[in-house]
């Protein structure tokens, strides 16, 4: 048996006695590593001083040049998740995780070489392009596998994995700082060496995930679990082919639901430190603001698990209703917290808002599963991640440009975010309406039973859609 055949779906089918609780750690092995992307900014300042060492030399890279590394990585995350989603789904999780490990680890190696010879294009290609593709493939690789292992708790299962993406930065940030300290000398900044070590660690960690992941046998059911006999209104028992799903209004409504929820959160997340200091001048110091950002990250991660698990009990649609209704009131309340000078209330508002931002990411795979079935949920999720990319542009632009416009109009800095908060609240109203309009997918989009069976039986083969 060749090594590559070990990656095939047929070689990852779990034997009797396998515990499904092995699968969330496998997924976390991937997500904890690729979550490093959120901590990339710790390299920004050191990379602006690779030549000048103590301060930036004229030949050193500028922060604006370095910002493209993250932008490229996010762009290729969305693109690769959309384009390779069906390949991931049909090839199985191990092949996808192995590929993601090679791209992510390899991307770090090329970026390290780029840093060592001071060539930014190599870093763009290594971390931005290859690493970005690793991010996209890795992000969606465990989604449908987890849903198949946990048909009774799909929200909780995917929430655990996606929580790992939020948690990856917690590990990467202090680890990067420690490694750079270890490799730096008075005449050298150890960015390249840090990239090499992190690339090796991440490759090994992700390979463990690829080794331990398993898919359930087709007839497997959790002990004591009986699938509902009658389909619930918004939980289908049918599968929808990935490209047919894109033709449904439900897909685009969920796209907007995710995009609007993320737009509201991502703009705040990027500006949290500056916003807290500007809204409470003299009361929130830069050190305290850094603590605030840390707390936000924790609630971002915790919210992923909490809200996705809650959605198993109250339903996906109701969970998003919670995000939009609670979010609306909290965003509208933020300017009031500034006017009364209540830092505590301000912090509480944003902790809940950010928990719902993370919750939006973590609940959406289960929402897609409810709408389109489990067969192609990973691939459909891949396409949906384009909403994340779009929100990544809208959110920061809204917050930054409106703040700048307000300041130019003579509005005091402490009140410069008020309009943005009301706009965010307005976006959530639009999100609420989109969520409200989501109904069950029409049966003409469902895969025929014989097609579903054939696509499940033909490992690695391309399933033909019924409605295409």
């Amino acid at each position: 048996m060749s090594f590559l055949s070990l990656l095939d779906r047929e070689h990852t089918i779990a034997k009797p006695g396998f515990s499904r609780w092995m699968v969330p750690p496998a997924a976390l092995c991937i997500h904890l590593c690729i979550g490093q992307a959120y901590a990339l900014s710790v390299f920004n300042l050191p990379m602006t001083k690779l030549i000048g060492i103590t301060q930036s030399a004229p030949e050193d890279w500028r922060l604006t040049d370095l910002g493209w590394i993250f932008t490229l990585a996010m762009f290729f995350l969305g693109t690769s998740a959309a384009l390779f989603g069906r390949w991931v789904e049909e090839g199985g999780p191990r092949r996808a995780m192995f590929t993601a490990a090679c791209l992510w680890g390899g991307g770090f190696m090329i970026a390290a070489f780029g840093a060592s010879i001071h060539n930014l294009w190599l870093i763009y290609f290594g971390y931005g392009v290859l690493g970005g593709c690793g991010l996209g493939i890795g992000y969606i690789s465990p989604v449908s596998t987890l849903i198949k292992w946990f048909p009774d708790r799909p929200g909780m299962a995917t929430g655990m994995a996606i929580m790992g993406f939020g948690g990856g930065a917690f590990i990467a940030s202090p680890l990067s700082v420690w490694l750079m300290g270890l490799f730096s000398t008075p005449t050298h900044i150890g960015v390249a060496e840090t990239f090499v070590v992190m690339g090796i660690i991440y490759f090994c960690f992700m390979m463990v995930g690829a080794a331990i992941v398993r898919v359930p046998a087709p007839d497997w059911r959790p002990e004591g679990y009986t699938p509902p006999v009658t389909a619930q209104k918004l939980v289908t028992k049918n599968d929808v082919y990935v490209y047919d799903a894109l033709k449904t209004p439900q897909f685009w409504l969920i796209w907007w639901v995710l995009c609007l929820n993320v737009t509201a959160g991502i703009g705040v997340l990027g500006q949290a430190s500056a916003m807290s200091q500007e809204m409470f001048p003299g009361r929130v110091t830069p050190v305290a603001a850094a603590g605030f950002v840390g707390l936000l990250s924790l609630f971002n991660m915790g919210g992923r698990f909490f809200w996705a698990s809650t959605s198993d009990y109250i339903g996906r649609k109701n969970t998003y209703f919670c995000f939009f209704v609670i979010g609306f009131f909290l965003y509208a309340l933020v300017p009031y917290t500034g006017s009364i000078g209540s830092v505590t209330l301000f912090v509480c508002c944003f902790l809940v808002i950010i928990s719902m931002y993370g919750g939006g990411f973590a609940t959406v795979p289960a929402y897609l599963k409810d709408m389109f079935g489990t067969r192609y949920v990973g691939a459909i999720h891949g396409w949906l991640l384009t909403a994340w990319a779009a929100a990544g542009i809208f959110g920061p632009v809204l917050v930054n440009y409106i703040r700048q416009y307000q300041i130019e109009q003579g509005v005091p800095k402490a009140q410069a975010y008020n309009t943005t908060m009301y706009i965010m609240a307005g976006l959530l109203v639009v999100g609420f309406i989109c969520n409200f309009m989501i109904k069950a997918v029409h049966s003409r989009y469902h895969m025929r039973e014989d097609e579903t069976e054939r696509s499940a039986a033909r490992v690695g083969a391309t399933a033909r859609p019924a409605g295409a």
């Binding site: 948690g167 917690f170 202090p174 603590g291």
Partner: protein, 41 residues
């Protein structure tokens, strides 16, 4: 059918797998909490 030995071995594997991902995650969370406490100082 699984034996008791198989069952015990699987439980050990599950514990090891969770430890493998849980320990680094817990370390990261603790580091972040330490930094976050500065908000209240």
């Amino acid at each position: 059918m699984t034996t008791n030995t198989d069952d015990g071995s699987m439980k050990l594997k599950v514990a090891l797998a969770w430890g493998f991902v849980g320990i680094p995650l817990a370390w990261g969370v603790i580091q972040t909490l330490i930094n976050a406490m500065k908000l209240f100082q």
